[in-house]
Symmetry: C2
């Protein structure tokens, strides 16, 4: 993992009718968000689109033009509804076919006699892509341009992310500290806004929750890439909280 000075951004494209119908509850967005944040990549946008080629192509082209990386999940299995690889090839305007390296990976797990046309779909890789190894079930993901294509099954997606992470350009990590307000959001909204305005390079978020005693409470999350600026804003937040009438 190489550190660079500027921020590194990412988009995430979740592909699958089953997420949009509610049949499958996505478990990848939160995982990827946390993972990228931890390695110094800012997840800037997520989109969920159906298994429709034009929708995938349009979303991919919009996002890859905007972010350092675009990650996709879903749609790279052996059935007719797995159309991600073809859509990515179309978005990049490149050809697609069975990749001998990917076929070899499949043969590590699948007897050659069982490597029918359906299973060979999993070796269809756009021209010019690098493969992303899959320790769990062998069928690889791939990396083309700034787009990284991963499986939708969480364990496999996670293995693929571990595989690509060391090769990603990463930025200065966003530092974050959480302060429990022990106050109602409505009571601190005014002073908090003033602190936010006085610390423009620090982002301050307020997240309400109900505490153990059932009272409205809030977590204040202070974020910055600069340790000193983070500390200054944190001190201001703590001082404000300490000054509240109790």
């Amino acid at each position: 993992m190489s550190d660079t000075t500027g921020p590194v951004s990412a988009g995430l494209l979740v592909i699958g009718d089953e997420i949009l119908s509610g049949r499958t509850k996505d478990r990848n967005i939160g995982y990827i968000a946390e993972y990228l944040t931890a390695i110094g990549i800012d997840l800037s946008e997520v989109r969920v689109v159906p298994d429709i080629e034009d929708e995938i192509v349009a979303a991919l082209n919009a996002m890859r033009a905007r972010y350092t990386y675009v990650f996709t999940t879903g749609g790279i299995g052996p059935t007719h509804d797995d159309i991600t690889a073809d859509a990515v090839a179309k978005a990049f305007g490149v050809s697609i076919g069975v990749d001998p390296r990917a076929r070899a990976m499949l043969l590590e797990r699948i007897p050659e006699a069982d490597l029918n046309e359906a299973r060979l779909r999993m070796a269809r890789i756009p021209a010019g892509a690098e493969l992303v190894a899959n320790k769990v079930s062998k069928a690889p993901g791939f990396w083309i341009g700034n787009v990284i294509v991963m499986a939708g099954v969480p364990t496999i997606m996670q293995a693929m992310l571990d595989e690509v992470a060391p090769k990603l350009k990463t930025g200065v990590r966003m530092l974050a500290e959480t302060v429990r307000a022990d106050a109602k959001e409505g009571d601190i909204g005014g002073p908090l806004a003033a602190i936010a305005a006085a610390h423009p390079e620090v982002s301050i978020g307020s997240y309400p929750f109900q505490d153990e005693e059932g009272r409205p409470n809030a977590n204040l999350v202070v974020r910055s890439r600069d340790e000193g600026k983070l500390a200054a804003a944190l001190a201001a937040v703590r001082e404000m909280l300490a000054s509240l009438p109790r």
Copy 2:
């Protein structure tokens, strides 16, 4: 709920830095997806964007031009990072200010002496919007044009969705049946693709899972708005599965 003949579509815009940083795991997408599907509205796209006005405005304008409805979650609380109402007003090009109806709702819960500027933010409503009542904590959501703005806290979002659902235009419900394949996706991919091609008005999805005995298995989900077409495709799928060598 009024049934119409054509499909009714929806987009969902999730607003919040905390989802993109992974700090908060979204629990609304899956709930809303399932809810809308059940009442005959097709969720066609989801986007997650940060607490940045221009990003919210751009996503909202792209989605509201495309779908029958756009639902938003998040960013309508009392703190400085709650900017959804202002962004929606900007997207529609209308003014925004404290709405007397919304202020009255807040007063059902908040003593007038406590109704400071921060809390009054929750009564800022774009001109021309209808309010969406909030049984849980009173601060309302709102409905403007085809956009329905809801809270991010799941219990409150759910109460708001219950509030608007009876007023939504709904389409013919998508019918879905799930068949457990008891086969590997790679073994059924070929015949399943042929069935999908022969039943163009039916959507067939294949979702792999590991069964109780640790073997690769798949759920086949057959979906259609037409009962007869669904039954025909289902019969073809069952026949194909029954004919597999065991």
